[in-house]
């Protein structure tokens, strides 16, 4: 075993201790629940699993469409790379099929030259655009009751504003519910509101940190309207035994459906899973562009010589 550098060890220990302390000082779940209620941040509700009749009603009204996207890069360091993106909107009814929208590009061949950071931003925005496009196409083809999008709806509003507006307007006009399922909650609204009551070491905290283990399985915290995410309604839901909750976004105009949507998400989520509706996991599996596929595409359409040309030195590292 390699001898670990003493200094490294000490520094690490210090950092870990600080982290532990922060967790130890976190108020108990009951205290936190009371704080949340007292501050009027939101209300706790228990979700119900929908029965088959209720599910059938959803199917009658058009069923469910799930939307997800995937990005994969291949090649070498920026800008010597190729980006492949794919968005998939799939309706639950197998006979109806699905909509796939793809895009592929490289910074080298794009008209407007941009920096690495800029490019990364572009890729992100482009994916959001593709996803919304897929959602619009699915909306037009299937006129579903519910569209589940993978990720926060705010993201679409920011990154693909015009398309998002188009989707939202159409959805609102035909009463199709738009739902964003947030796997990695990054907001910190709750700790912001509880700022004065939380121990110093525990602020600022991400919402998921506050809610970790706070909710029962199937319990949701409905955030009071207007508190955050302008134009949207949000709730946090512990949809499986996993103690980390997920977030659910709805356009403000559709907030009446919040409970119904939370129930649906809870119904579609495996109890022992990580908390994401199975339907989105299935779509994720379908849409994902694996490294093997990337490599295959690259060597097929580019030729072995070019692959060698693009391959970064780092990948040739043997140790």
């Amino acid at each position: 075993m390699l001898e670990l550098n003493m200094d490294l060890k000490n520094k690490f220990e210090e950092a870990a201790k600080a982290m532990q302390l922060r967790l130890r000082q976190k108020p108990s779940t009951q205290v936190l629940r009371n704080m949340i209620l007292e501050k009027g941040i939101g209300s706790f509700n228990q979700c119900e699993r929908l029965n088959y009749q209720e599910l059938s009603n959803i199917v009658e009204k058009g069923g469910i469409v799930g939307v997800d996207g995937s990005t994969n890069n291949t090649g070498g360091p920026y800008p010597y790379l190729l980006t492949l993106q794919q968005a998939l909107a799939k309706v639950c009814n197998q006979e109806k099929g699905h909509v796939t929208i793809t895009d592929a590009f490289s910074p080298l061949t794009m008209i407007a030259s941009m920096g690495e950071e800029e490019y990364r931003e572009f890729v992100k925005e482009n994916l959001a655009c593709l996803e919304v496009k897929a959602a619009i196409a699915a909306f037009e083809q299937y006129s579903p009751r519910v569209i589940l999008l993978d990720g926060s709806l705010v993201r679409y509003k920011i990154e693909a504003a015009p398309l998002w507006e188009k989707l939202k307007n159409r959805a609102l006009s035909q009463n199709t519910i738009l739902v964003g399922i947030v796997e990695g909650i990054s907001t910190g609204v709750i700790s912001e509101c509880l700022k004065d009551r939380l121990p110093k070491s525990g602020y600022p905290a991400s919402d998921w940190e506050i809610l970790f283990g706070l909710l029962q399985v199937g319990e949701m915290l409905e955030i009071a309207p207007g508190l955050f995410k302008e134009g949207f309604r949000t709730c946090f839901l512990r949809s499986s035994v996993d103690p980390k909750p997920i977030g659910i976004d709805l356009p403000e105009e559709q907030q009446v459906y919040l409970t119904e949507v939370a129930n649906l998400v809870f119904t579609l989520t495996p109890r022992d899973g990580r908390g994401i509706p199975l339907w989105l996991d299935i779509i994720d599996k379908n849409v994902r562009i694996s490294d093997t596929i990337m490599e295959g595409l690259l060597s097929t359409y580019m030729g072995e010589e070019y692959v060698e040309f693009l391959k970064p030195k780092r990948q040739k590292r043997e140790m």
């Binding site: 699993r49 639950c92 009814n93 197998q94 495996p270 022992d272 299935i282």
Partner: protein, 608 residues
């Protein structure tokens, strides 16, 4: 369907989204460079990428899957089917991955499924999982036999399986292996029915008394029986051994079949058995010698010195003569020979001959020889040697250009429980002759059909000569090992052996060059043992009860006072042997069943 993954010239994987593969199916791989290649499915798998094998991945939540179903998405439809396909003939180089795969038409695979001419074949059943291919074959081959599955009888929809009779000249012997309930007896029955259909002379040893071909199955669509094509003989009753024609070797074999002979006994027989002996003369000689040996020379001499009847005198003279002649033979040996001989005699073996069997065979019929297994062993030693010798002599004579002997046709010898007739590692009377036929029978047109549930117990020389093997369900590991060793069965198939449904079998024949999965057809005739023992008891009980009821009716009411007389009269009328106690019990049973009434009175029970 298309070829996927890494390929070799022998083996490929084929995947399909919507078609499940069935084991033993034939597929055509359309290789763009090598042309069409034919392969056989040896393994079939399905998998669903959304339902992984790992536990705790959260996808096993049945409720969620069910909910999705109600939303119109059935996770099971996202299934991928994969088959491991072995090429029937090795390709020159690996098959091209991605090349399309389809089901063959019959003409493309005719050579792999049908051998020889249809008229010359034994129609044993169907080749499994060939429906789609069978749909493209000519009409004459369709629906040739009836199949039985899950209580239903239907015309086969698969390609028929024919075992070419002409190929017997090349591959003469058949082994039928399978545990009890595997369909082995049905298989043997079907083979014998086909033998009869072709009027091929045959001889069958039947220790189970089940080879009866005169009753056709009740529920079959086309009734057919073989009343006139077979004859049944019971040893001792219809057929037997003519003692006069027994060679010394035959006699030794017969006696040792009862129980093995000691060296001393064998040499005693050699001395005692004389040319031209009848059973009477031989057994007389034995009995007298025993008496003489028991008395001893001094007492015989002494008896001779006494005054006695001339007849008596004659006897003692004879005893003395025997003592002089066979002075070296010990008494126990003679006694041993005598009881063996008596046992053979008591079975009726020596009171008949085998003419009837030969006659039936000459007429192209199946001769079924029945008897208890020990007697069957004894007798078949004699019978098989006899008919085999006759055929051999005729054929040898013909080869030498001497058209001397009487014509004797080629024939088939069949038996169940073959491991009793040619056991491994121990002696049996029949073993020599069966081994000889196994090794040389081909030359003379004498073929074996040997069925056993324990191939491991069958003599290895014999097993090695069984070219064609029909293998039914086998559970014992040692038997599976033997089968794998002795046949071209593949490991995948050997693994399936314990799970084969009754009636399914693997056909391993050098003619096909591979193992063919078949299902044996529904026999035309049925075995006499099909009545369930439970039914038998119930029916018997019912009839005796009814009989009793009939006979006591005139005596009713029966009460204590007239009971004894009633017993007497009932015994007289029915010929039964009731006691007061047993009749009372019988009457109580009738009361229990509600067939009779019983009243209790101060004077005891009254039966009304």
């Amino acid at each position: 369907m298309q070829v996927v993954g890494l390929t070799t010239p022998q083996e490929v994987y084929v995947a399909s989204k919507d078609r499940k593969f069935r084991i033993n199916e034939l597929l055509v791989l359309e290789d763009p460079y090598q042309g069409n290649l034919i392969g056989e499915v040896v393994e079939s798998n399905s998998y669903n990428r959304f339902i992984p094998l790992s536990i705790g991945s959260g996808i096993h939540d049945a409720d969620v899957i069910e909910s999705l179903k109600h939303l119109g998405y059935s996770i099971s439809e996202d299934e991928i089917n994969i088959a491991k396909v072995k090429l029937l003939t090795e390709a020159n180089f690996p098959v091209v991955t991605g090349c399309p795969v389809r089901l063959p038409t019959f003409d493309e695979v005719r050579g792999y499924l049908l051998k020889g001419k249809r008229e010359d074949g034994f129609l044993l059943g169907e080749i499994k999982n060939t429906e789609e291919t069978a749909a493209t074959m000519e009409d004459e081959l369709k629906g040739l036999c009836e199949m039985y599955s899950r209580g239903k009888i239907y015309k086969t929809r698969n390609v028929p399986f024919f075992l070419d009779l002409r190929s017997f000249q090349q591959y003469p012997h058949i082994g039928v292996f399978g545990g009890s309930g595997s369909g082995k007896s049905f298989g043997l029955r079907v083979i014998m029915e086909e033998v009869m259909k072709h009027r091929f002379p045959a001889l069958m040893l039947d220790p189970h008394y089940e080879m009866e071909f005169s009753e056709s199955q009740d529920n079959t669509m086309e009734k057919k029986d073989f009343k006139d094509d077979f004859r049944k003989f019971q040893i001792g009753e219809h057929i037997g051994v003519e003692f006069l024609h027994l060679s010394r070797g035959d006699l030794l074999a017969l006696l040792s079949a009862v129980s093995p002979l000691t060296e001393a006994m064998a040499s005693a027989i050699a001395e005692l058995h004389l040319r031209g002996d009848t059973y009477l003369s031989f057994s007389n000689r034995l009995e007298l010698l025993i008496e003489a040996l028991e008395m001893g020379r001094p007492r015989v001499e002494q008896a001779l010195r006494q005054d006695m009847e001339p007849m008596e005198k004659e006897k003692y003279k004879k005893l003395r003569q025997l003592l002089e002649e066979y002075q070296n033979i010990p008494l126990p040996s003679v006694q041993g020979i005598a009881w063996r001989l008596r046992r053979l005699h008591n079975s009726g073996l020596f009171s008949r001959d085998i003419k009837l069997v030969k006659e039936a065979m000459m007429q192209g019929k199946l001769a079924v020889v029945q008897g208890p297994i020990w007697l069957l062993q004894v007798f078949s030693t004699y019978l098989l040697s006899n008919v085999y010798r006759q055929r051999r002599d005729y054929k040898d004579g013909e080869l030498k250009g001497e058209a001397s002997g009487e014509y004797f046709p080629p024939f088939i010898i069949a038996t169940d429980e073959a491991h009793n007739f040619a056991p491994k590692g121990r002696d049996a009377a029949t073993k020599d002759i069966i081994t000889e036929i196994a090794q040389e029978g081909r030359k003379y047109g004498v073929f074996l059909v040997l069925a056993t549930q324990r191939p491991t117990l069958l003599d290895e020389t014999v097993t090695a000569q069984l070219n064609t093997k029909v293998i039914f369900r086998t559970v014992r590991a040692s038997d599976i090992a033997t089968i794998t060793e002795e046949t071209d069965i593949k490991t995948e198939e050997a693994r399936r052996l314990p799970y084969l449904p009754s009636g399914d079998a693997f056909m391993s024949s050098p003619l096909f060059g591979r193992t063919v999965a078949i299902r044996v057809r529904f026999p035309h005739t049925r075995s006499p043992h099909t009545q369930n023992p439970l039914d038998e008891i119930q029916i018997h009980r019912e009839t005796t009860e009814d009989k009793l009821l009939e006979s006591i009716k005139p005596h009713l009411p029966i009460y204590a006072a007239n009971f004894a007389r009633a017993v007497e009269e009932i015994n007289r009328d029915t010929g039964e042997n009731y006691q007061v106690r047993t009749l009372k019990a019988a009457l109580d049973t009738l009361v229990e069943k509600g067939k009779l009434k019983k009243q209790t009175s101060p004077l005891g029970d009254i039966f009304l």
